[in-house]
């Protein structure tokens, strides 16, 4: 199966990721076992598959080019170790960080979203195509 991913639509959604994530109740969740970080709803609906934006970030998209979440593999061991923009978030989303308040978590998530948005938008801007066919 394949579908055409509308990169312009994806770009627009990334630009609005703070609104989309808020409306769809996305949360940052970290899987310690696999060192993976998700920024997504608790359950990502059927029909969404991964598309690698670059070596560090993948997005969940469907055949309508809807954005369903963000996936970062080797989050702590790689991304936050080599990218200084993400270093402040290295351990914040770990489960054992139980001393953080709801307000702290929300503030940090907002900051994280801004950094993520800038990173994804700059990466997508490098792609001159308006769409791409992806194997689903």
């Amino acid at each position: 199966m394949k579908y055409t991913l509308n990169l312009k639509k994806l770009q627009k959604q990334i630009a609005l990721i703070d609104t989309i994530s808020d409306q769809s109740k996305w949360k940052v969740s970290y899987d310690e076992e696999t060192d993976s970080l998700y920024f997504s709803p608790d359950i990502i609906p059927d029909g969404f598959s991964l598309f690698s934006v670059n070596d560090d970030f993948s997005v969940f998209v469907n055949e309508k080019s809807d954005l369903g979440g963000i996936f970062i593999e080797y989050y702590k061991s790689n991304l936050t170790s080599h990218d200084k923009k993400f270093k402040p978030f290295k351990s914040f989303f770990m489960k054992q960080q139980t001393n953080k308040s709801k307000q702290q978590l929300e503030e940090k998530t907002i900051q994280f979203t801004e950094v993520l948005k800038a990173e994804l938008l700059s990466e997508l801007a490098l792609n001159k195509k308006s769409s791409i066919v992806i194997p689903a």
């Binding site: 359950i43 598959s49 991964l50 993948s58 790689n78 992806i134």
Partner: protein, 120 residues
């Protein structure tokens, strides 16, 4: 009480299994896991991988098995199955998802010689 098993199979005398709690946890994020068609893909990734990389995270204790599903243009869809040795003749499936890239390439990690893998 032993963990429930979501999926298991034997191959060349080795058992491969996916604990239900682990499967359920990953299926929340990766919707493909909620469909039975994922199971033959998992099996193929382990028994007929296009390449197997030592895991970056655990310094080679785990193996990342890639099955190449198909490619369109410059994009390839893989099934990636991460396994870890559990007992002498048994491997636990740690995670399964279907990326369009091979992350380990970025770290200059070389794929393992498939003939050196005991289950192949």
């Amino acid at each position: 009480m032993p963990d429930e098993i979501a999926y298991e199979f034997e191959y060349n005398g080795f058992r491969f299994f996916f604990r239900k709690r682990n499967y359920d946890s990953h299926a929340k994020k990766h919707s493909e896991l909620r469909h039975p068609s994922i199971f033959p893909r998992i099996r193929k990734a382990i028994t007929d991988p296009v390449f197997v990389y030592p895991d970056y995270l655990t310094d080679g204790q785990r193996h990342c098995c890639y099955y190449k599903e198909f490619e369109i243009g410059q994009l390839t869809r893989y099934t990636k199955v991460v396994i870890v040795k559990n007992l002498k003749n048994s491997y636990e499936i740690v995670s399964v998802f279907r990326p369009t890239n091979v992350k380990e390439v970025k770290y200059n990690i070389y794929p393992l010689d498939l003939s050196s893998l005991e289950w192949l």
